[in-house]
Point group: C2
Chain length 415, copies 2
């Protein structure tokens, strides 16, 4: 993509009412636009980041047997009344609306109820289980306050997978399997080192659920981390009793602030009982389906990654998440420079390397500042002097060291 | 994908309240699930069809310089009040809702207003134009009745591109260009032969807009078609005066029912005037931006394609839109048959050919009936007898003719 074809521009300032650093940076860099608190438009660069995060999650969910679907935002009340979650006092984040005929509808803040009901069309016998439908869907949550940018949205993207199993043992096996898939997701997103599988409260059907918590100064949760064992305990369940149960020694744990980037949850028969989702087992007996839910928020992850890796110059995207891998800066517009830069752009693009090519008539300083604010991992510069020398100037965004490279060295570095 | 891993099943009947043939078929085949009238969940096969349609449109929009973004469903009232479209009497398809603090919000039925406002951050000078942002987004329309399945949804997918141009001439050039891109979209979707660029009412800034209308007995619009010139006139503007203006002779036109699958519209300064989106031209003068809007409904297209090509046995997907290209039927489960079918599945998959492999323990008749209902273009059968003969049975869904093919002939046919 040529920067001259990109309609967004960087700006020195974010809206005055935007207090979250992730949103401030992403707005200044032209990745997102604020519609209202907690509601953001994804502009071309932001859309690309969101797609990269989504695709990594999709591959790992397909890898554990997921079937991708897309449920609806508009929700009739009946199934939510059956589960007891239609009442605004019980679930306090509903946006409600009305059909033209007056019937009340809700905008889905989550999808356990409609999916449980839907599965009744397809699950009859033990032969139909286990199954793992999942989706990427816009969720709506009517948060009273929404001051954390992409980290806590009123309209945001969520990956939610639901497991439907015959027995607790079958459920437990899948629960372990998807837990490892989550590890791979955060590893691929560049957050592996700082992300801990964390014991959290479990509800009626399991002593614990598990959150995936990324240590970060902007975290809203407090967790107690065992670095060697790569696990943590959320303060909500932190007690001597739990420590003893997990065989952990208080002295080995470190208190940290963290952001919840995913969670996995044993639902048991919480929804299959009221909505009557059952199956006939090998002996002809009717049994309720054992369920689990598994969430990851792609838009929250985008906000966290933006905020977590940023430095004083701007965004710093990990390689797998960056909207483009290379920022190609053309200094000057002489025929030789333009030809050289165009040629490199074509060559890299043909090799499948995604390049954002700054072909604008702008001062070098402005181009370099934009390269830093946008946070593209690899910067390559072509100028009159460099063309004469037969080299390219290369800079890695992450540490800023500058090198002069030949064409072959450059391709080796980027390849 | 193995059918044994797909959680959906076919059924003999659709819900009694579903009157649209497209939805009846798609529900019976397990492509979609009805949540309420005009609101459908996309199940794995349906999601794949929707993605294929989306990707074809995306490629053609990128081809005319589109920049993909994603606007929001939740809408604050201010911009819509400025344009005069917040009032439920003016735009009668609003779903309205409320923030926890009581402010009224709307669910976007279209996106001219928020995008026009957003572009004020990026358009200042003639150098910033022209630009063509577009998105695939869920739209919400509170239709009084919704009885046409995917063809008229209350929650549905829309591709909407908006053009921002300096002059009428620049706008007109792009309008022609995207019109040709639309032709290519419908051609690739298998609807090229039946789809006509149709003169329709234009609003304040152009005598005509243009709809893309696909001739179909299920159409809700009446158009007058000139087959040779490949154009048509919507009855809403059909008059002797318009015929004369277009140089068409009444006797050469045929009246047809048709489905609107796309539209392109000159907005002029309808939105840039009230929302004050202007630019500074080469002479330093401030001018309003000239806009256009260009819609295609991927979910409506899915419904139309389903309904249009179906026969008495079920769905018949065009090659580019089918969820899988090959339906591989294994008859029996002897070691020889299973090995042969598994091997073919691996081989085709490795070649990038998408295969739905019916590996279930089911009667042959049930498998063949499912293959027909699902409408996958190519059916390949492996059975004991065929393994002994060293052949595969091949059937094209579209005409049903059966052939016996060697492995090489089969690969040639599918390749």
């Amino acid at each position: 993509m040529r920067v001259s074809h990109l309609f967004t521009k960087t700006s020195k300032e974010a809206p005055a009412d935007e207090v979250a650093k992730n949103a401030q940076l992403l707005i200044r860099a032209g990745f997102i636009h604020k519609e209202m608190a907690g509601v953001y438009t994804y502009l071309p660069l932001g859309k690309r980041v969101l797609e990269k995060i989504t695709q990594i999650i999709r591959e790992e969910m397909d890898g554990v047997g997921g079937n991708e679907i897309s449920l609806t935002a508009l929700q009739a009340s009946d199934v939510w009344q059956q589960s007891g979650r239609w009442d605004d006092q019980v679930m306090d984040v509903w946006f409600k609306t009305k059909l033209a005929n007056g019937s009340e509808l809700g905008l889905a803040p989550t999808h356990e109820e409609p999916l449980t009901k839907l599965m009744k069309s397809f699950i009859k016998s033990y032969k139909d289980l286990p199954v793992y439908p999942y989706q990427f869907q816009i969720k709506f949550r009517n948060e009273l306050r929404s001051k954390s940018g992409l980290m806590r949205g009123r309209e945001f993207w969520m990956k939610d997978l639901y497991s439907f199993s015959r027995t607790q043992a079958e459920h437990d096996t899948f629960y372990e399997k998807i837990s490892h898939a989550y590890d791979r997701v955060f590893e691929r997103l560049g957050l592996g080192g700082q992300t801990y599988k964390t014991f959290a409260s479990g509800g009626s059907f399991a002593k614990f659920s598990h959150e995936f918590q990324t240590i970060s100064p902007v975290g809203e949760d407090t967790i107690y981390v065992h670095k060697d064992k790569k696990i943590a305990i959320n303060e909500e369940v932190y007690s001597d009793e739990v420590l003893a149960e997990l065989g952990l020694n208080k002295d080995e744990l470190v208190q940290e602030l963290a952001v919840e980037v995913g969670n996995i949850f044993t639902l048991g028969t919480r929804f299959s009982d009221p909505l009557e989702l059952s199956f006939t087992d090998e002996d002809g007996e009717s049994k309720p389906v054992i369920m689990g839910s598994y969430g990851i928020g792609p838009s929250r992850l985008m906000g966290l990654i933006a905020e977590h890796f940023a430095d004083e110059k701007g965004l710093v995207w990990p390689e797998n998440v960056a909207p483009y891998r290379v920022y190609l800066v053309r200094i000057g517009d002489s025929e030789a420079v333009t030809a050289k830069a165009d040629q490199l752009y074509e060559r890299l693009t043909q090799q499948g390397i995604e390049v954002l090519y700054d072909d604008r008539d702008e001062r070098p300083g402005a181009k370099f500042a934009d390269a830093e604010l946008l946070g593209i991992p690899h910067r390559v510069t072509v100028s009159e002097r460099l063309v004469e020398e037969g080299t390219y100037e290369y800079q890695a965004r992450i540490h800023g060291e500058v090198k002069l490279l030949t064409a072959e060295e450059l391709l080796g570095t980027l390849g």
